[in-house]
Point group: C2
Chain length 397, copies 2
């Protein structure tokens, strides 16, 4: 038979060492979101395709696995992103008047990897704030995202700020179909000047100049004044630049050590962003760790348009940067029917210890069991009492 144990490309098992890191990180991040007042939801993996893709654009459609529901004959999709589900839950199930804060953590699936080393099954953690159109909401979400990176002990986080309205402002009044717009966004996202120049042919001269200028508008604080000088002076662009300046200064004030950068051509990730957006990195590392921003239009398809801002990240990628967890030092106990010994094992476990039982016949007195958990103590009986003593590794191996 064919190698039954080979997994599909870009799909991998997570083995104990990394799984433990992911689990620890998962708890810290959910606790962090809860401390900010974000309520946990668990949306389903499967939904009707039309609900899953409503208002989310072509890219998400292409990354979504489709299958047929045997119960209804309708087309289902496996979620490739949890954000639209959170918007649906806010709009329909909770239906609150004030601000709603939601968070989630669960797998998503992609038909194709987003990069050479990317998994097709990220473990998506995210937080979304609905019902507030002020920049204070954008700031809160960015601060929560940065706190999540701190919890994960990412050293020297960098935040790149961008705004979806800059490109819309540059292209205002220029007739362009959805496909053309997508091509331009893709050329900008990949900083592909020749492709962009080609796409600009036939566009008005000032639009072309502005589009090509966007490619160079990334860096530190000097980017915003440069953008004001180079980009057309239109209300949408002005508002975007003012809001980016406000966000950048507040983020910098909250953490003077944070590197705040701007990248006005950043168009990566999902197409639903409608205002300020951000990407988080570790210094010296080009992989995006988290993405977020404002997406006021996604909820509209569910019949209730609400301002929305949020972020998400892949816990599997983030866990690779996190330092290894301190191994839990376990206790080895030889299996016995003795009631007092079993009571002692139960007591130790309830007190937070890992007690691994060497079952009868275990090779070398449980050496393999001891090794898997790096056991450093064993439970022994001395004069009728159960005691812990240092595990003599030579004995066990």
């Amino acid at each position: 038979m064919r190698s039954a144990w080979l997994l599909p490309e870009h799909i991998a098992d997570v083995l104990p060492a990394q799984a433990q890191r992911i689990e620890a990180l998962r708890r810290c991040l959910l606790d962090q979101a809860q401390a900010y007042g974000y309520e946990l939801i668990i949306p389903p993996l499967l939904e009707h395709l039309d609900a899953l893709l409503s208002g989310t654009g072509h890219e998400l459609d292409l990354s979504t696995f489709k299958l047929v529901d045997q119960l209804s004959g309708r087309m289902l999709g496996l979620r490739a992103d949890t954000t639209p589900q959170a918007a649906r839950i806010d709009a329909h199930l909770l239906n609150r008047q004030g601000v709603t804060r939601l968070c989630y953590c669960g797998p998503v699936l992609h038909t194709r990897p987003t990069g050479l080393a990317a998994t097709r099954e990220p473990l998506q953690f995210g937080a979304e704030l609905f019902g507030h159109d002020g920049l204070e909401a954008d700031l809160e979400v960015a601060e929560l995202a940065l706190d999540c990176l701190r919890v994960a002990q990412v050293s020297q986080p960098v935040i790149d700020l961008a705004d979806a309205r800059v490109l819309r402002g540059v292209l205002a009044g220029v007739p362009m179909d959805a496909e053309g717009l997508q091509d331009v966004a893709r050329a900008l996202a990949s900083k592909d000047a020749p492709a962009l120049a080609l796409l600009c042919q036939g566009l008005p001269e000032d639009t072309r100049a502005a589009l090509l200028a966007l490619l160079r508008l990334y860096g530190n604080g000097e980017v915003l004044p440069a953008a004001r000088a180079v980009l057309p002076d239109r209300p949408l662009i002005r508002t975007a630049l003012d809001e980016l300046a406000w966000l950048g200064s507040r983020l910098q004030a909250a953490d003077p050590g944070l590197r705040v950068a701007f990248d006005l051509s950043d168009m990566s990730g999902y197409a639903y962003y409608s205002g300020p957006r951000f990407a988080l990195f570790a210094a010296g590392c080009s992989d995006t760790l988290a993405r977020g921003g404002r997406y006021d239009e996604v909820g509209a398809v569910f019949g209730r348009s609400r301002p929305a801002v949020g972020f998400s990240l892949d816990l599997k990628s983030l866990s690779e940067l996190a330092p290894a967890a301190q191994p839990r030092r376990a206790i080895l106990a030889l299996w016995s029917e003795d009631a007092s010994m079993r009571a002692e094992v139960r007591r130790l476990r309830a007190a937070g210890e890992v007690v691994v039982t060497a079952l009868p016949g275990a090779a070398a007195g449980g050496a393999a069991e001891a090794a898997a958990w790096q056991a450093d103590r064993e439970l022994v009986n001395r004069d009728g009492r159960w005691l812990l003593q240092p595990l003599n590794v030579a004995d066990a191996t």
Copy 2:
């Protein structure tokens, strides 16, 4: 457009109150498994279909969603059960000589619900022990499963013991194809005497009598002596009954309050069980909360046959029995740029408090935000110092 927010049948969102209960339970159960020395793994949702279904039988095939991999053109399956994946990881990736203990917690998907009220997306938690063929391993797994029910505060758990070898012993020497065997198992599982009688036509008289007797062999301690009297005296059956007696007596000794029952016709759940098996219930409730048992043959298809015993349960169902979590009482804070206030909020959050910010313009001073978290205190400034004071609900609403 069609009601975009309607979910597929037997698929549901988990909203904050239940999600919080599930998350709390998830952590307790994983911690419990860790205390026993079970290492966490996170197998993928998607695998090549042949690997996913190897050695698992027809039922699992029918419950597995299939889709085509765009990268390879091969058929993939969405896991309907995590146990075979754990067996694959034990056999191939870890490949240890001694005992390996693994646990997992993640969604599985079913093409069809297993009951009228069943979800098609259970959140499967489970633990598996590989590499030990003694009853001590069966006992450990059953005890861990019972501890998980205790952690979930299930009152009066009941354990039903059965053994896959009883039916095999009864049918030994009777020619019967896989389909016939499956029909018999199904009739036994649903205690359908007329269907069973029909299927028994043409079988030898003693086999027929034994099969029909199985239907009545459920209840307390009297079942095993009755089985010895009624069932044919064959080695496979004798071993099975002896082992069930041993397991039952040990489980009873460990917890005198536990109701230990036997159900020799229990054939429900997956078809891969090969020895003792068990089902856990809450007293007075017919829904199975957890299932487990020995399945020594599953790993063989991965080229390494290892003894194996484990159990799994659905956290979503279990959480419905668990008492509601005590709500976290949050602190309401009005948004401010004041650095001392922001520092105080950060300090409170780090100390484990939930601090919800009422963003500028929040209706009624953040009444909705306060209500979602049942906020009972607010952060106020008195003479330049930040203090907590009881939240006056009349003020907020």
